[in-house]
Amino acid sequence: MLSAITKKIKKISKPFEKGHLAEETRVCSNEKAKRGEALVRMEGIVKRFPGVVANDHINFEVKPGEIHALLGENGAGKTTLMNILYGIYRPDEGKIYVGGGKVEIKSPRDAIEAGMGMVHQHFMLVYPHTVAENIALGLSSSKFLFPLREVEKEVAELSERYGLKVDPKAKIWQLSVGEQQRVEIIKALYRGAQVLILDEPTSVLTPREIKDLFDILRRITKEGRAVIFITHKLDEALEISDRITVLRHGKVVATVDTFKTNKGELARMMVGREVLFRLERKPVERGKAVLEVKNLRASSDRGLPAVRGISFTLNEGEILGIAGVAGNGQRELVEVITGLRKATGGEVFILGEDVTNCSPKKIIEKGVAHIPEERIRMGLVPSMSVAENLILKDYCSPLFSENLFLKHTLIDQVAEKRISEYSIITPSKKTPAKLLSGGNIQRLILARELSEKPCLIVAAHPTYGLDVGATEYIRTLLLKQREMGAAILLVSEDLEEIMSISDRIAVMFQGEFMGIVPTKEAEIEEIGLMMAGTKRMMNPSEDSQ
């Protein structure tokens, strides 16, 4: 029995003997765990990008066996710092120490050899390949011919050990998001990661999956490994971490022991001022129906059903927030409503007219504004000027063109007006749009979409990646449009955002609405359960006034 155990341990620890650095850290970590010394130390890290200092003389360290949360707003520099630790970026200044010794991490390969493992926010997986092929990728220690047999065996063992249940032969695109994340973790552990870096891991998980992840993390750290947990969510940082480092505008604000701090203090450190958690929402008279969706169905890019029978009505002067973890069909729903995707069943009516499967042009002409999820890829022509981007959709209108010819003077005039109205910061209207900052790009898009008083606004993740100031501005703008009688469909992963400005909340899970509740009556726990698919309201398609 003992020999069987030792054999098993030997087998499992074999892949972890990678590179002398990892060996050192593993050996050192046990000793240092006793002394409380750092596993990884980053000193004086500076990283500059054109126009911004992403990391400004940051000191950061991780102790063995700890879960260390790296907390900050979007754009605070957390991912940049970890990308430096993982070798994706080189720091402009600063040093990195692993296990007490200075290291030069010039590439992810060096980082892996030094014992780092990283699970990125957008998974670094090859979707058409199998789990085993993904894990075997780049492994110099595997066999040349038929390497997968061995890999599959060892993956099975690893997943047993840490509770990371996954089928090595499954193709990645067949797995759920939670399972894909587990593949990423196994990938890192397989290569002997002593420090596991997770970048916003919970943004794609249901509450249940989050709980499972936390269990897995605790098991991993029991053996002296450390976990760095990047997040912008205060509650999670408080729940899972041993220590928290707060970043703001590229600088370290403080590193605190978790049990010694609280939500309010952390929020203040993150933002620098008291944050308004709720915006003013005036009661508005609800008007006639603007958008009616009946039993809508649509498929994803891979041909799997993404929208499976959605029905709802949206009236003038109301905001319907669609909550739900990304990847449950929200993107496809938005695309069908705006004409960018074909519906496979059901109908869409705008102002009483059937617009199912009409061209985007027709839908734009009906007065529908679309603030796209991917600002730069979809909503902007980066190399064209600000002015040209401002008329991207109405260049055909009699205001801007006559008989095929564009009226440039008029276009310029209107561009000036919109730039000042929406406070778009740009050197001139002729500047290429790609030079604008993220917040100003969104202002440009809003200026374009909202100027013509649309009757329906479809806003997909409008404040994603923007700072607090821009976020507040956009939410206020949407509320103003609501007061002017527009109907707004808001899709957001940020539950707090949805709750603060929506009149009603619909929870989307696997292509269906689990329920539609008025915000006044909504309870976070109930919404969470619906997001996870465990709760479903009776007759979710009927509106609850």
């Binding site: 985007p360 890829r377 909503g379 902007l380 190399s383 260049y395 055909c396 030079l435």
Partner: protein
């Protein structure tokens, strides 16, 4: 001391850098091809002298340069529209031949009795339509079936070339010349008039057409709604779709224009130079106007006005090809310029987008 290269993206692409890079690319290509001349035992400076004096130094030479520049210009302008939308029309050669076929058919068999006033415009319209159809077919395949247009347009080139051969060996066979069949000569009413300068071969109506097309196309791209759609589609097809622009419409439009223009070039060649249909390599001598036009367009950075200049340059190179045969170099050496210039333009294009910073480390 090992220099470390760092490649950084330039925030703005300035036109002065673009111009400088275009000129630099050409110079580098000239230097590269000079080595080939050396390989043939010919002094490169002497060869270049012969080429440039031959093409630009005398009235005769310059008139021939213009003659060769005309089809390059027209094709190049059409290609600029297509490339602007990132539709890679490599079929200008075939579209040109189709235009030639149409013009021949009209001149010899459809309305041979008609007067110039009716015949010539009909030939041009017919040629435009033939080229346009030849271009729209791959366009439809691309827009509806996502077929790679590089391959489809190229295949159509070979089909068109074989069609010409079929016609001149078969139903349209007239006489024989150098062992190759040719069609009958066009009636005089189908001949384009000449400018009486140089070698007297400049068929000026086509030249005027070419120059006007350059201006028209420039205005079209920069100042019309359709041109706006073409530009947006070339810069960001996702945004074009999001903005309600029709991908299908834009692809068909640019293929129609570029195919039709290439067809016009074909009409110009048979009505202005040959006055009959010949074997394909006779109408469009190697390296082929349709293919050379690709480089003309790229060197002119897809700007119809700049294309006027670059087509003159390449016309001169083609004339130079005749000149260098006197000093022992084969005409085919000129074909090298095409590839070389395109390579260097490509490499140079990156210089306009990226800055290369060299840091010396001790």
């Amino acid at each position: 001391m090992i220099p470390k290269l760092k490649i950084e993206k330039r925030p703005i692409v300035s036109s002065s850098v673009t111009l400088a890079v275009s000129i630099l690319s050409m110079l580098l290509a000239l230097i590269a091809v000079a080595f080939v001349f050396l390989g043939y035992g010919v002094d490169p400076t002497y060869a270049y002298q012969k080429i440039f004096i031959g093409s630009f130094g005398s009235l005769t030479g310059f008139s021939e340069t213009i003659v060769k520049a005309i089809p390059l210009m027209i094709c190049g302008i059409g290609l600029a529209v297509a490339f602007k939308a990132l539709v890679w029309n490599i079929g200008a050669e075939g579209q040109l031949l189709m235009g030639a076929i149409a013009a021949t058919g009209i001149a010899l068999y459809v309305i041979p009795e008609a007067s110039s006033v009716l015949l010539l415009p009909s030939m041009f319209i017919g040629g435009f339509l033939a080229g346009a159809v030849w271009g729209v077919i791959p366009g439809v395949l691309k827009a509806k079936l996502k077929a790679n247009e590089v391959i489809t347009t190229l295949m159509m080139n070979y089909i068109a070339s074989n069609l010409v051969e079929y016609l001149i060996y078969g139903p349209w066979k007239g006489a024989m010349e150098w062992g190759f069949p040719i069609t009958n000569e066009f009636p005089l009413s189908a001949w384009l008039p000449y400018l009486p300068i140089g070698m007297g071969r400049i068929h000026y109506p086509t030249l005027i057409l070419a120059l006007s097309l350059a201006v028209l196309t420039y205005v079209f791209i920069m100042r019309t709604t359709l041109g706006f759609e073409v530009r947006v589609m070339g810069e960001n097809p996702d945004a074009a779709k999001y903005a309600g622009m029709s991908y299908f419409k834009t692809v068909i439009l640019v293929m129609l224009i570029s195919g039709g223009l290439a067809g016009l070039a074909g009409v110009g060649e048979v009505a202005g130079i040959h006055h009959r249909l010949r074997y394909p390599k006779g109408i469009s001598p190697p390296p082929g106007y349709g293919y050379t036009a690709i480089i003309v367009t790229c060197l002119g950075r897809l700007n119809p006005l700049a294309i006027i200049l670059s087509s003159l340059l390449f016309g001169g190179l083609l004339v130079g090809g005749d000149a260098i045969q006197v000093i022992g170099l084969p005409f085919a050496a000129i074909g090298l310029f095409n590839g070389a210039i395109l390579f260097f333009v490509l490499g140079g294009e990156l210089l306009t987008r990226y800055k290369i910073i060299i840091r010396w480390r001790g």
